[in-house]
């Protein structure tokens, strides 16, 4: 999943507005940031065991929870940050094939092979997330414009990646 992960961060912002959106966005992409680091280090595993497996996600969620909770004394916010990290794994099970355990089974619906279906699923998530996020904005005249801009920009990004997937046979991560 690409932009659909942003929807989890936007929805989490609605759940606890005091948590910064930047924290939630970093949390929602934590496994992919780890992949980028592993790729740079030359130890990237295409199966993503070190970044997307259940034990890896559990570790990242624990670290995310501890870092946020200890840094802000906001334990509920820490749980939310950990939850957003866990959401990455759950959402990736819709679009890709991800590992459960080192040497274990790969699971997922693999929507990446069907870009149109992927765009529809991620698009629905984006719209839901942005509508929830819109409730965190102060009320003002034409407030729907901000939500519309958010939805439009995120859908455009998602469309770009799905079109690239349709045009290219493979789109390797690393």
């Amino acid at each position: 999943m690409y932009i659909g992960h942003v929807a989890a961060a936007l929805a989490a912002k609605r759940a606890r507005a005091s948590v910064g959106l930047v924290v939630l966005l970093v949390a929602t992409y934590t496994p992919d940031w780890v992949d980028a680091g592993l790729c740079l280090a030359g130890v990237y595993n295409p199966d993503a065991v070190l970044s997307h497996s259940v034990p890896a996600i559990a570790l990242f969620a624990l670290v995310g929870f501890a870092a946020y909770a200890l840094g802000t004394r906001d334990w509920t916010g820490g749980i939310l940050v950990g939850g957003v990290i866990v959401s990455h794994m759950l959402l990736d099970w819709i679009t890709g094939h991800k590992p459960t355990w080192p040497g274990g089974q790969m699971i997922g619906l693999g929507l990446y092979g069907h870009p149109v279906a992927d765009f529809i699923v991620e698009g629905v998530l984006i719209v839901i997330g942005a509508l929830l996020y819109g409730r965190t904005l102060p009320r003002r005249h034409r407030a729907w414009m901000d939500v519309s801009i958010m939805i439009g920009a995120l859908l455009a990004l998602q469309l770009g990646i799905d079109v690239a997937r349709m045009l290219l046979k493979t789109l390797p991560k690393c």
């Binding site: 690409y2 932009i3 992960h5 942003v6 961060a9 936007l10 959106l21 930047v22 966005l25 970093v26 992409y29 992919d32 940031w33 992949d35 980028a36 790729c39 740079l40 030359g42 990237y44 996020y133 904005l137 102060p138 003002r140 407030a143 901000d146 801009i149 958010m150 920009a153 995120l154 990004l157 990646i161 690239a164 045009l167 290219l168 789109l171 390797p172 991560k173 690393c174």
Partner: protein, 58 residues
């Protein structure tokens, strides 16, 4: 002009040219940079829109 830009985008996404003497580390750096760029875009776009929305309400 538009088709040239589109071809450039597809070329960037497709990856570096595969040659027998291609350096693996250059290829790895390319893919890592592309992934980081994609993550930055996915993070910064909603952040900037959020910033604009909250500023315009003040």
């Amino acid at each position: 002009m538009l088709s040239a830009a589109f071809s450039l985008l597809v070329g960037l996404l497709a990856g570096p040219m595969e040659t027998p003497e291609a350096d693996i580390s250059i290829s790895r750096f390319y893919y890592a940079t592309r992934l980081i760029a994609a993550l930055l875009v996915a993070t910064l776009v909603p952040l900037l829109i959020d910033r604009r929305a909250r500023r315009s309400t003040n």
